[in-house]
């Protein structure tokens, strides 16, 4: 029988070495944790220019002079799950900052924290109610017939629905990690939601509790999200920068508002279970959401390693809309890596800004015959991120 060649002595000496460094690290960690930590999120200044019930409209103060700003403002619609503060996590990792630096006149919806009285609000109330009123407000304020619209995740689904129902009000549409096709088994959520009894849950809870949804998201990958993440934290707990970034992310990820009951019910039944949206069969307030009515330019971002909204849930959209100017961009990252990864900060926001600038309506000069401002519609492109370097999953 061969002798087991376990280098016990080497393993033990390594452990001993680590043990020697441990007191110093523990002291450093203590200093870090007990010191003043800068963990504030969403620090880019804005003002609330419109409010309806719990919903607020934030307008970020431009950082560029007025003549350098894009004429058409951009309205960003986040999901009802978690908070839009993720887009402005910290200086240096802020999509909001990047948009402002690129000359975008930026508005963002803050969906607030639904209470029991909001349990009757449907998707129709959010899309044709709050969103429509906000779009009209921005149009009136800027004296423009159309604005740019960008949606994230469930907010992207809302933006798609809105654009199909009100195409005359939207100049360009940007969708990011937006689920539109739910008939796939690529993601765990898509498998799990098929069996969920939404009626029973709404009857029991009223609004869908944010904490319960958070628990569900953690169960998507318990090994990484409940064990490895905190092991990583302990390994770097003596690094102030790391701790601050970690705490910011923790603040955001566990800041989960409840989802209004009727909205939750319809999203699960009509989208996850019946997959009506991609089939243009979904109805809001008696009106059918016909994707062919989306005739404005569309750019669609999604993450190759997104375990919440897999590529199969996103990539069909551009083939179902009526627009001829569409583009798919698949980035080598996960669901929120697009927004929080420092690598993609340099790629994502400037790409959107440039895409919007190319499609900015040009005001005709005096004495010059008005020509069509539209560029020749680009052919449908699918960028498989050949030029974008691979990024580890967040």
């Amino acid at each position: 029988m061969a002798e087991a060649k376990i280098p016990v002595d080497l393993i033990l000496s390594k452990l001993a070495g680590d043990a020697e460094k441990a007191p110093e690290r523990i002291q450093k960690a203590k200093d870090v944790l007990l010191s003043e930590l800068d963990t504030a999120i969403a620090t880019t200044p804005y003002e609330v220019v419109y409010q309806e019930d719990r919903v607020k409209l934030k307008h970020y103060y431009p950082v560029l002079p007025k003549n350098k700003l894009m004429k058409t403002p951009l309205l960003v619609v986040y999901a009802l799950i978690n908070r839009e503060t993720m887009l402005d996590l910290q200086p240096g990792r802020s999509i909001v900052q990047n948009f402002l630096n690129d000359g975008i006149d930026l508005y963002m919806i803050d969906w607030g924290y639904p209470t029991r009285k909001d349990k009757f609000l449907t998707i129709d109330d959010h899309v044709n109610g709050y969103m429509d009123n906000i779009v009209d407000f921005i149009r009136r304020k800027h004296n423009l017939p159309k604005i740019n619209l960008m949606g994230i995740c469930m907010g992207g689904a809302f933006s798609v629905m809105y654009s199909a129902l009100h195409p005359e009000k939207i100049q360009n549409l940007v969708t990011t990690v937006t689920p539109t096709n739910f008939d796939t088994d690529q993601g765990l959520l898509h498998i799990w939601m098929k069996n969920v009894d939404a009626d029973r849950m709404v009857k029991t809870y009223g609004n869908m509790p944010g904490d319960l949804m958070n628990l569900g998201f953690l169960l998507l990958n318990p090994a990484r999200l409940m064990i490895d993440k905190y092991v990583g934290f302990l390994e770097n707990v003596d690094n102030k920068n790391f701790v601050e970034n970690f705490v910011r992310m923790e603040k955001w990820i566990f800041d989960s508002p409840d989802v209004p009951g009727e909205t939750f019910r319809q999203f699960i039944q009509d989208c996850y279970q019946k997959n009506l949206l991609i089939q243009s069969k979904m109805e809001l307030g008696g009106r059918r959401v016909d994707l062919k009515k989306i005739t404005m330019p569309l750019i669609n971002f999604y993450g190759q390693y997104d375990h919440l909204v897999p590529p199969a849930a996103c990539e069909l959209l551009t083939s179902k809309v009526g627009s001829k100017d569409t583009q798919d961009i698949c980035l080598k990252t996960g669901h929120i890596g697009i927004y929080v990864s420092s690598k993609f900060q340099k790629e994502f926001a400037p790409k959107i800004a440039n895409w919007l600038k190319e499609r900015e309506p040009v005001k005709p000069k005096r004495g010059v015959k008005k020509t069509s401002s539209r560029k020749k519609p680009a052919k449908k492109k699918v960028a498989k991120s050949g030029s974008v370097p691979a990024s580890p999953q967040p």
């Binding site: 393993i11 029991r116 109330d125 849950m201 990958n221 090994a223």
Partner: protein, 303 residues
Amino acid sequence: MNEKKTETFDPKPLLEAWLKTATNFWGPVLETWSATSGTPETSLNQAESRTMKNLDSALKSWKVLSSVMSEPEAGKSILEGIQTLPEIVLKMTQTGWDGYLKLQQQWYERLLGIGQSTEAYRFDNLDQDAVNVWREIYEKEFQRLLHMPQLGLTRLYQERANTTLDNFTLFQAAIAEFLQLLFLPMEKSIQVIQEKVAEMADEGQLPENPKVYYQMWIKILEGHYMTLLKSPEYTTKMDTTLGAFDNFIASKNEILQDFLQTLPVPTDKDMDELYQEIYLLKKRMREHEKTHEVETSRQEPQS
């Protein structure tokens, strides 16, 4: 001595002796008490004489009862009723004991399974029996008691209390099964990493850095979870657990509603009705506003 031990205990003489003693004691006491109350009736004495009349009637009822009970047939039927009580208790204890023995058998079988090699990333032969046995025992033996129809003025509240208790038990069972299922990848990954380390040791390729072992284990664990979380067994178990939780919350809320209704505070049900009315009113108002805006904008150019 041995013959005495084999004789069965007959409680009948004891019962008769008790009846006789009680009658002999209470009878003269009550008669003496009633005899001393020969004073003329006044308003104060009226209350006292009512008390004496009640005592008299109680004494008479007792005499009748004791004479009935002293008859052999009545005494026999009472004794038989009393003797069935231990049988009921015995049966319940036996059921509980059988259930415990079943559980113990399952544990022993699991213990015997330790040390057998395991196939990575496979969850066949899940030890369902062990986790389900408590729920089966409960559903077979105890749940029926909680589903018995209730009687009386407070029957509705009693039924709700029983339903809540039933749902709570079912939820506890479901969450225990769910957590046990969630823990399976942990067990399997530890077994797999042990086998892997043994293989690497045989090949002489063991890394020195302990962190490498952790990285290997976490990757194996992640893989196991990915396999489990996609499986129909997990999805079904998750749905069952969610359903059990929802049922428990719903029944608990019903009881709380009943309790809140005794206090001067609005319940969730009251507030929901109000919220719905407000929601519908606001919706109608907004529709009217929009219609009015459109009509106003049409009329403006004319004026």
